[in-house]
Symmetry: C2
Subunit: 338 residues, 2 copies
């Protein structure tokens, strides 16, 4: 079954290829009659304009690369990424863009792969998820003037196109509210050190404490990978060494691990120890106890990020902006505000 091309249609409809092309793009200067005729022939022959050829002449692919800034497998295991991709996919589909998933074994390669997709012209732009500190990829993108939108924040580069929540403020507000509720002994189950949001949230925590003449013993901060094992170990170290009445986990998965660790150590949650997570992954409202958390509207962030990128792509005078999405504290069972 050979592919039918624009020439085949043209011949069959007894017009020139350019006329067919005009029908495809629904050009106004073309008679209704030929338009109808050509359209009829097109679907009679099962013709579909070749996207590759179109991309070549238009110098646009209408596809967008997705970079996950960490090994794809682990990234996908995290609900955070699923959420973002949901948002991205929805808008992409609506605006008729394709999504190209970039995969690699490690962060270094991933970044090279993503850049390559741009260089070989396979994608028009990139959406970057949860960038690390010290991001070379961003440097390269800026240098080459490649369109991209970052979900998160770059340590080095100010005012680049991005959508984010204010992690500093989210953490700050949370601590204030906890202090007002009477909590006194804080410990932090932080995410990976390399992620920008980890530092931001930490800063928010510390500043809020400081303003209330409280301080945080560095031993009470545990950095951990996003695996259950690692989180459990960290939670164990905190809970067995430090008297804690409020444990703040920088991700719901970590929070979930913390709850289990606390309970297995004989603490009752939330009565003896209150535990808060971050993100509001769908699952955690169903846990027992359900997780009190700082909700981050990840799907929404994905939607905004790709919308911004598409706008940049289609409107050369628009160069993106910084969009900060508000967060929200959701009280459930694992920590009670008073």
């Amino acid at each position: 079954m050979k592919k039918v091309t624009i020439k085949d249609v043209a011949k069959e409809a007894e017009v020139s290829p350019s006329t067919v092309s005009r029908v495809i793009s629904d050009s106004p200067n073309i008679s209704k009659s030929t338009k109808d005729k050509v359209r009829f022939i097109m679907d009679e022959m099962g013709y579909y304009p070749n996207a590759i050829a179109r991309s070549l002449v238009k110098q646009k692919t209408r596809s967008i690369g997705l970079v996950m800034s960490r090994p794809t497998d682990r990234a996908l295991a995290n609900p955070f990424f699923s959420g973002v991709i949901q948002g991205i996919a929805a808008v992409a589909q609506e605006k008729n863009y394709s999504l190209l998933l970039t995969a690699a074994d490690n962060y270094e390669d991933e970044y090279q792969e993503a850049l390559k997709q741009l260089k070989v012209g396979r994608v028009d732009g990139l959406v970057l998820l949860a960038s690390r500190i010290n991001d070379d990829l961003i440097k390269q993108l800026l240098k080459n003037n490649y369109p991209f939108v970052l979900i998160g924040r770059s340590q080095e580069y100010q005012s680049i196109p991005r959508v984010d929540n204010d992690n500093y403020k989210a953490a700050y507000d949370l601590i204030i509210k906890l202090i007002q509720s009477g909590y006194k002994e804080f410990s932090i189950l932080a995410g990976h050190k390399d992620y920008v949001f980890t530092g931001d949230r930490l800063k928010g925590v510390i500043d809020a404490l400081k303003e209330n003449d409280l301080s945080l013993d560095p031993d009470r901060i545990e950095f951990t990978d996003f695996t259950f094992e690692s989180a459990e170990k960290s939670a164990y170290r905190i809970l067995s060494n430090h008297n804690t009445d409020a444990l703040i986990a920088f991700d719901d998965l970590l929070g979930m691990a913390a709850v289990q660790t606390a309970e297995s150590l004989g603490f009752s949650v939330p009565d003896q120890i209150g535990i808060v997570g971050f993100n509001d992954h769908t699952l955690v409202s169903y846990l027992k106890p359900s997780l009190t958390t700082v909700k981050i509207p990840i799907v929404d962030m994905g939607e905004r990020a790709i919308s911004m990128l598409i706008k940049m792509l289609e409107n050369t005078s628009y160069n993106g902006e910084e969009k900060i999405i508000p967060t929200e504290i959701i009280e459930r069972e694992s920590l009670k505000f008073k």
Copy 2:
């Protein structure tokens, strides 16, 4: 910063474009000296061969479409898909293929979108995940002779390229083992009716029971969506109406909901009610109680599926095959075998 093309390189290196092209493809009939010279110029100029142009002349895109057979958002929320995609992405990257994510609001559109990607020549083939019963997409693909591999099973079409686990056998073996362990009162928390594997597993269950002169009251089978709410309701209906000592959930998420429902109804798990899941999602080994489950090697299945597809793409005489991956029962806390 204008894109540098093969012509620019040719001019700079004082050779013809064809020579440069030969250097790119590392052709043997070309002198080492010019090869070196051209290579030098290429990266001096920052040249990358345009993938789109290449695709056009080669009539191959080296990219593969991913279809998820259900609304993308819900699909991504399920760890099953993340697992499969992990496997797919790893191999794709290794073999230098790109992955195109197909998104849509509903199943109908998704299938149209996927087909379109093929028709417009944006992808060379498709990997289909968890196909529904009565699959028109497969019919279309076969009719048009488009390359694809199905992860799962089609009700209508025998012997199509696919990788799957033997759901019938997995369920059958599980029941046999349960019966041997002394379980007598079975209830089933099945997935969505439309999925082929639901039917297959159900059949396995029923046949195993029948062989042991047991039968299953249809009321003891609850079909449910893959959401926590829906699963909890179904579990509630089962547990409040039927004396059950072994509850089989066709997905770990459903199993997890069942555990919680059972406990909230005052049953102790596994002492009064044993609960098994399917899939072995990473999370469930960390629950309390941890979930006994039938492990399905989803990452592995993803890897094999895309490997098969790529082989089909690159070797015209190979038309795919059926690969059945074995499953494994993993005993944890939510159900004990005796």
